[in-house]
């Protein structure tokens, strides 16, 4: 009898756990595919994109700028971002570089890059 009660309790518990798991909202799958570059490769691509560079943020120690190419329909976007240390700005490469190439998978616009404007 005890075994039967134990088995029933185990089944009820499993059912509750499964139901609770099923109710957890799963994060939405992204609607885009992306390739990301960093380091020297990203900096090289940044330099090879002939579009105006935008200043994102700057302070006494760092300056960040980015280049953005976005499809007019928003179906693809290329972002390259470079951060340069003020101390090495004149004679060395960036301290950080990053590029992402994103493309929509479902015909809906990909998320657009929103710069974090800090400083002046």
């Amino acid at each position: 009898m005890n075994r039967l009660i134990f088995a029933a309790a185990a089944m009820v518990s499993a059912s509750v756990v499964l139901t609770a798991y099923a109710e957890i909202p799963q994060p939405p799958e992204s609607n885009f595919e992306a390739i990301t570059l960093d380091g020297a490769d990203a900096h090289d691509l940044y330099l090879n994109l002939n579009v105006p560079a935008n200043n994102e943020s700057a302070n006494r120690t760092f300056a960040t700028s980015y280049k953005l190419i976005r499809d007019t329909q928003g179906l693809s976007e290329i972002l390259c971002k470079v951060t340069v240390s003020a101390a090495v700005e004149n004679n060395k490469g960036p301290t950080d570089a990053f590029c992402s190439i994103t493309k929509s998978k479902d015909g809906k616009p990909v998320p657009t890059y929103v710069p974090h404007r800090v400083g002046g």
Binding site: L45, N50, V51, D71, S76
Partner: protein, 137 residues
């Protein structure tokens, strides 16, 4: 006895055939890179923005059209990523009209198409290098 001989002969043939089986080539290895292909507007913008030497891929002229295909390539010095873009410019020509007929009311406009392929290594080894016309060197 006769059936036994048949059986042995059949097994022998089976053994010979099994050994003579044509070796199945291994399946082609999966590419070592991820790829994103941009078309239309996105590719056009990238093509125009990408610095670098434009090379002629193909040039074809016929009585009714003229096609020129150009390419641009950016390859990271590490070889781990690469962008290959193509631009095809096609000029359509109206077929020659018999003498005395007026020209068509609307001139045929040229057609421009763009495509770009962005590849990035998945395993830390260089992605295959693109050569125009698919010719190495």
């Amino acid at each position: 006895m006769k059936y036994l001989i048949y059986l042995i002969t059949a097994f022998s043939f089976y053994g010979i055939l099994a050994r003579a089986e044509i070796p199945v080539p291994p399946p082609p290895a999966a590419p070592n890179y991820n790829e994103i292909v941009l078309q239309v507007n996105g590719a056009a913008q990238l093509y125009k923005a990408l610095l670098g030497v434009e090379h002629l891929e193909k040039s074809l002229h016929t009585a009714t059209s003229s096609i020129m295909e150009n390419g641009k390539v950016w390859r990271a010095s590490s070889g781990l990523s690469q962008i290959v873009c193509h631009h095809t410019h096609q000029i359509h020509r109206a077929p020659p009209l018999p003498a005395g007929l007026p020209p068509p009311p609307h001139p045929l406009l040229p057609t421009d198409t763009y495509s770009c392929s962005v590849t990035q290594s998945k395993d830390g080894k260089p992605v295959p290098q693109y050569f125009p016309h698919g010719v190495a060197g």
